[in-house]
């Protein structure tokens, strides 16, 4: 089998949100995951016992089988915690697509839940420990280097030096996404605007990154269901097919990582995804990019080839990626301004846009949306190209 044979073989058929998201005290990560699960199954028009695969982003903090038992899934054919961290949104979908296409399973639920904002010890968010084993994290702490924000700031600082971007560029990215969040009733920053002066007035988290460059820390959950294209056509929602997919994990910790100014894992995973989908960057109508930090958006889009190194400082100007702009990016507000649910935030937004269910922030008639996720400090990366075009390999069968 060629990778191209996987084009449009799998589809996303259910998305589950939690009724409340952002700051929701008094609940466990598991409770959010359970609510998202129930809502995803209802959204797809399925029943609990249809689910025969479960892939979990392990920030819930339990063994996979314990989560499954609380959900009452007692006859699964696929079960795993997958710890590529932020890259989960795309990487779990890729695993699920392969599993349903092979016939191993029929419906795979991919699941995320966190109480990282209000709970104890939730490892999600920019204050969490950065990449690497405890001995690396501990050594970094001895030098006063704490958490993913500071480690990403090391990548961003190098990026300023090599690429000529910096706060001027990142302000555009943050403000453009804030404008999308202003249109999204689920978003933490719904109706809460930010202008350039307010961006520059934000406190330093780790210079050169200000607070507005950093993702939120959020409570809540998100889930989605993957099945075959054939099954998807008979279900409740308009199918959203996986047209292309790829992974690329560079893995090295921040001190050893030679990819922090690009190309990141976006490049090779993107090449695989575009090849499978049979399209180029020109066919992409919008991007839902993993945006743990503003710099991540810049370096990810550059690595996909949407602009060349050195062109980033002009790319985001004049609201190009904002509502009404020619190149929509992170239309929910993203991790910066909607909620931080790792790769699940950008992935599920891509599905919602292609279904045409995004209300005031709906983009005009999209056909292909690229969604990325990356984890660690640019150490893991997954890419999925989603489409609502009902053409592809499943038609031939």
């Amino acid at each position: 089998m060629e990778l191209q044979d996987m084009k449009n073989r799998a589809a996303v058929v259910g998305v589950g949100y939690t009724a409340e998201q952002g700051t929701v005290p008094g609940r466990s990560a598991l409770s959010f995951a359970m609510e998202a699960t129930k809502n995803a199954i209802e959204d797809a028009g399925l029943k609990k016992d249809d689910i025969d695969g479960l892939l979990i982003q392990p920030v819930i903090g339990m063994q996979s089988y314990t989560v499954a038992s609380y959900l009452g899934f007692d006859n699964l054919k696929l079960l795993a915690n997958e710890d590529v961290m932020g890259a989960s949104g795309a990487c779990l979908a890729i695993h699920a697509a392969l599993a349903v296409a092979s016939g191993q399973v029929n419906y795979v639920l991919c699941l995320y839940g966190t109480n990282g904002k209000s709970g104890r010890g939730g490892p999600a968010g920019p204050g969490a420990g950065g990449g690497g084993p405890p001995r690396i994290v501990g050594t970094n702490a001895a030098y006063g280097l704490f958490g993913a924000s500071a480690e990403y700031a090391l990548a961003a600082s190098r990026g300023m030096h090599v690429l000529g971007t910096g706060p001027e560029t990142w302000a555009d990215i943050a403000i453009n996404q804030r404008k999308w969040a202003n249109l999204n009733p689920r978003a933490t920053f719904y109706k809460k605007t930010m202008n350039r002066e307010e961006y520059y007035a934000e406190p330093w988290i780790a210079e050169p990154l200000r607070r507005a460059d950093c993702c939120l820390v959020s409570d809540g959950g998100r889930a989605y269901i993957v099945t075959t294209a054939e099954r998807a056509r008979d279900l409740k929602q308009p199918p959203v097919y996986i047209a292309g997919m790829g992974q690329n994990h560079h893995t090295a910790d921040i001190a050893q990582n030679i990819h922090t100014t690009g190309p990141t894992g976006a490049q090779k995973s993107g090449e695989a995804a575009f090849k499978m989908a049979g399209i180029t960057t020109k066919e992409i109508d919008a991007c839902e990019i993993y945006d743990c930090f503003t710099y991540t958006v810049e370096i990810t889009l550059q690595s996909y080839g949407f602009f060349k190194p050195g062109e980033g400082k002009d790319f985001f100007k004049n609201g190009r990626t904002a509502p009404g702009g020619e190149f929509p990016v992170n239309t929910s507000g993203g991790l910066l301004s909607e909620v931080y649910y790792m790769g699940f935030t950008p992935f599920t937004e891509g599905v919602a846009q292609l279904r045409g269910q995004c209300g005031d922030r709906q983009i005009n008639d999209p056909h292909f949306i690229l969604s990325s996720s990356n984890g660690g400090i640019l150490q893991t990366h997954g890419t999925v190209i989603l489409t609502n075009e009902d053409v592809g390999n499943h038609i031939k069968e």
């Binding site: 501990g138 050594t139 006063g144 090391l154 190098r158």
Partner: protein, 173 residues
């Protein structure tokens, strides 16, 4: 916890050096309760079986990294397996010149950990040594605004406790 014997430090807590009484659990805010007689409240490096030689040499004021006996490449962080050629034949801890340059840096302007409150603003950098190995350290001996990427630096050794010495870097003379 066993002092100095295992990768228990989760990023916030003290990793005790050999000897002395236990100093609390492996995680979180216990760092602020480090004993006064120690006089040093900041986290200490997570020292384990594989990186112990690095810290033992640092205590002797030597900056050393592993050089693979098979492929000859320098690698860091310390490991039993050469990540370049997968040689299991071992390595030589070669002494580095102590000279290098700033590959990247940040300025910490708020104390994420209260033990650093008196230090802010301070510089955390990725140092690329002359020999090619890279490590996280601090740039000291100049103002944060004077630090630049590519700036030549040289090592100095900060004996932060009786047991632990942190290699740091200052502008090259």
């Amino acid at each position: 916890m066993t002092q100095g014997a295992g990768p228990m430090n989760r990023g916030g807590g003290p990793m005790g050096p050999g000897g002395g009484p236990p100093r609390g659990g492996p995680g979180g805010p216990s760092v602020v309760t480090a004993p006064q007689q120690q006089g040093y409240a900041k986290p200490l490096p997570g020292i384990d079986e594989e990186n112990k030689p690095f810290w033992d040499y640092a205590k002797k004021h030597e900056l050393r990294m592993q050089k693979c006996l098979q492929c000859g490449k320098i690698y860091y962080p310390p490991s039993s397996l050469c990540p370049h050629c997968h040689s299991w034949q071992g390595s030589e801890w070669v002494k580095l010149s102590g000279k290098g340059q700033v590959y990247s840096f940040i300025v910490a302007r708020r104390a994420t950990n209260p033990a650093f409150a008196k230090e802010v603003p301070y510089v955390v950098a990725i140092i690329e040594t002359e020999e090619g190995g890279r490590l996280i350290s601090n740039v000291v001996g100049c103002k944060p605004e004077d630090v630049k990427i590519g700036m030549p630096v040289e090592v100095l050794f900060d004996d932060v406790t009786e047991e632990v010495t942190l290699p740091k870097f200052k502008p090259a003379s």
